[in-house]
Symmetry: C2
Subunit: 521 residues, 2 copies
């Protein structure tokens, strides 16, 4: 283990007339013995507190050194070695921030927590926020406000986490931040204007690590802030984290990593090469579009099955409480079930004439909707419906998803069957049933054991960066190694997208395990 | 020439869909080609302005890089290369601050100026200020006030200097500060408490270079602040500057450097070794003690002679204006003249019976005083006197001076005659007549060509640091090489001091060129 922050035991002779070296220089000299002769740099604002603590401790104790890429920095001194040295890992999500505290001495994760992103008020999606950033709001800009909000969210997370383990935020000596490129721009208070405009260029991909005080972060004043580098506007540090957490960059056999949020981000590769792309998958998979859609939270329909013969629906909610909505994995299960029961056709359109649809479809405005949960069973006091509009949105999302996967593998001349593992990150990976996604033609028709949920790999990558020097080295290598394919202007992607807008696909030989129902039956 | 700050011409292809690297990363990548593959670090607060300037300049122009000891930092970008790049050198004196502006591109000094140290109000000498620093003054400490004052003095200097050449303080991209250890503590706002208490330990000898914004210096926000390192409380960065400016550390033959202020600081050495000491020489030599003493300014008696036969005095004032006082070199000339005319004896006591003293001595309280300038000639409207008290002070100073020189040379087994050159720094070096100092037994009896005035070598050293990378390298070597001898507790020094309290010395064979008048004549 080679943590970002390390402690070194110090014992020196007190100064004397025969040895009149300055306090700080004395300490640095002893430390340099631990640091292969490198003299640590002391940030200006740490000169006084470090020198004072060293003297008051009687010139012995324990020095805290942060290992920046350009060399060690001496930032604190303790009379007695602390038992725990806190590092915070942070996944800067568009809707939620998830963070954990790691003990940098043992590598143990001590606490984990989530808060809503305080920016939601200014737009649920990234694009709305980018536009909001350019506004003037009194004497502030939208960017100022967005930055403030995310800082407040981070501070409240840090406060809750440290409270949980009876420590203080000022004891957090390192923060590793992983997020999409736009969220990182808001965090760093950088203008996001060009992120959403061709050719989609960030202000910065890989900011150099800096001190918490430079961003007024209420952590230890000299805490290091390390931001996971991005590769492009649509390929953020969260995905670099995913590559590191899944060890995609070290695999002998070619694997794939899929991260689905508002965008679907995909990396294919092994220890020799990595190719990546990202594309708008639509918010359907996040539960953001369906009228009854919701995040994977208590009361969300997480999974369901429809009996193909009777049309009977069976569902489970998260927390087993009355249903309040449907999350992404629920929508996938539901639409796959509707298809297998032939309540929708290969285009995803309702077939009211189908017996299994009897009493299940109601008129909603000009189109039909499927009653997932009747009003009397629902936790909302009204029925939970899946409308034609919702299904259409999912069809676009699943088409985008499959086209992205097909395009990127084709670009490198790899067939789906060559993939050793497919890692699926995030809530999507945690909740999704790969089988139902295959039925829809969203994921390739591969043995289910190929699919591996990865959990919050954005957070996991950030945690690794805190404690593992070899991961920091790999991070640099990954950034240099990834080839990014821009799909926004990719012809092949556009063509594949059209073919993918059917269940499972126009070319049903691609999905041998999925029953194909011709419209003409 | 290898300046601290350098410009690099940049021309890159604008970003495109096929090359979507972030603005700052694009710039850094091109720059690293100039920097032997090293990626420059961008300080957090410079990310936005540098990236913006780079984009607005159409991705071409000129990047400003500061060469920190731990690597290059990219701090600014210009659409067109500036013709001049400003660096400021500053001699942080106890009574005066002297500074110059250097063009870091050509190495040319563009302006030079002096202001009074704004701290004078809190004490003319260092010791008073150190004690004042510990006071509470309202909600501030004395240290806060002392720091504020010196900052104000620096800002007014910077403002005047830049005005003179029609530029702005925000264009100053580097500041190199040279001063005694206490003044540097005030500048850095570090507690000076232990500087004057045995064993005299500074908080810091060699602070790492930092950014102007960290000290709220109103220069370029990313200007580098480089402070000349000290070796001890009584051996400051100003003397390190002197070593560098005189090239003492590169001399084949052994030389000596003398810097006289309130303390006398002395270095002996050559390219192989350097030994240094400092001792209280008393303020007499700065013109600080004599009632009519003053700094070497307009109206100060700078030089004088007394005809040994007639006792007639002849003097020159600085600026040739009516005399207003006597500066250090004037006092030395005067006392030497009094001795050669036998108006004082070898102990420095008045001999009123001597004919040359006729009409020149007046009673002042319980002791006598010598009338240097009668009231009707003086610029003060009253006579300018040299009292017995003044002479006694000088006798102590000259004894201290000679004892320091004798002790340090003896410590290294070098005789005065082995010294190839003696560099005399500062106002003392500029104004003093080595011959008169020899008569007094203050300086060793050597051929006059051995003595070389050095000017403000504290400032000169700082100027060299700005533009010459090899000097910065030598600075590190000098600090590592100097052996410092503490005289405050040195037995040999105390013994030598007693023997030196006579004119020229108890052992008059040490001064063969000086007439010796026994008391018994």
């Amino acid at each position: 283990m080679h943590s970002l922050v390390k402690l070194y035991d110090i014992e020196t002779r007190p100064p004397s007339l025969g040895d009149n070296t300055g306090d700080l220089d004395r300490l640095k000299k002893v430390l340099s013995g631990y640091l292969r002769g490198r003299n640590p740099v002391v940030p200006f604002h740490r000169i006084a507190p470090v020198a004072k603590a060293f003297r008051q401790s009687g010139f012995k104790g324990c020095a805290a050194v942060i290992h920046y890429p350009d060399g060690p920095r001496l930032v604190d001194f303790f009379a007695r070695a602390p038992e725990v040295l806190l590092g915070m890992a942070l996944d800067l999500g568009t809707t939620h921030l998830e963070a954990s505290l790691t003990d940098l001495l043992s590598g143990r994760v001590l606490a984990r927590n989530t808060v809503e992103n305080g920016q939601l008020e200014f737009g649920t999606d990234i694009l709305t926020r980018i536009h909001f950033a350019a506004n003037k709001v009194g004497i502030q800009t939208g960017l100022d406000l967005l930055h403030e909000r995310v800082m407040t969210s981070i501070h409240s997370l840090a406060l809750e986490l440290t409270k949980e383990i009876r420590m203080k935020t000022s004891q957090i000596m390192a923060l590793c931040v992983s997020g999409n490129t736009t969220m990182v721009h808001f965090f760093l208070k950088q203008d996001p204007y060009h992120l959403c405009r061709e050719p989609y260029i960030p202000v910065v991909n890989g900011p150099d690590p800096f001190s918490a005080s430079e961003l007024n972060l209420e952590l230890h004043p000299a805490a290091i802030v390390w931001v996971m580098p991005s590769i492009g506007s649509y390929f953020g540090g969260d995905l670099i984290s995913g590559i590191l957490a899944s060890s995609l960059d070290r695999q002998e056999k070619t694997c794939m990593l899929i991260d689905v949020g508002t965008n679907a981000e995909v990396v294919v590769g092994n220890r020799d090469w990595l190719i990546a792309c990202a594309g708008a998958a639509g918010p359907a998979l996040e539960g953001g579009v369906a009228r009854m859609g919701m995040r994977a939270e208590k009361g969300a329909i997480e999974h369901c099955t429809i009996d193909p013969e009777s049309g009977e629906i069976n569902y489970q909610t998260i927390g087993s409480t009355p249903a309040r909505g449907i999350c992404g994995s629920g929508v996938i299960d539901l639409v796959a079930g509707l298809y297998l029961a032939r309540i929708i056709d290969i285009r995803g359109k309702f077939r009211p004439e189908q017996p299994q649809a009897d009493g299940k479809l109601i008129q909603q405005g000009e189109s039909l909707a499927y009653v997932v949960v009747p009003g009397e069973e629902s936790g909302l006091g009204e029925p939970i419906l899946l409308s034609q509009v919702d299904i259409d949105a999912l069809m676009r999302s699943k088409a985008a998803m499959y086209s992205i996967l097909a395009t990127i593998t084709n670009q490198v001349g790899v067939s789906f069957h060559d993939l050793h593992k497919i890692y699926v990150a995030g809530a999507f990976g945690k909740h999704i049933s790969p089988r139902q996604a295959i039925v829809l033609g969203m994921l390739p028709d591969l043995p289910l054991e190929v699919y591996n949920p990865l959990g919050n790999s954005s957070l996991a990558g950030a945690e690794l960066m805190l404690t593992d020097g070899s991961v920091r080295e790999r991070c640099r290598e990954v950034v240099a190694k990834v080839t990014y394919v821009e799909l926004n202007v990719n012809q092949e992607f556009m063509i594949r997208f059209s073919g993918s807008r059917f269940i499972p696909h126009t070319d049903h030989t691609l999905f041998p395990s999925v029953p194909f129902y011709s419209d003409h039956e």
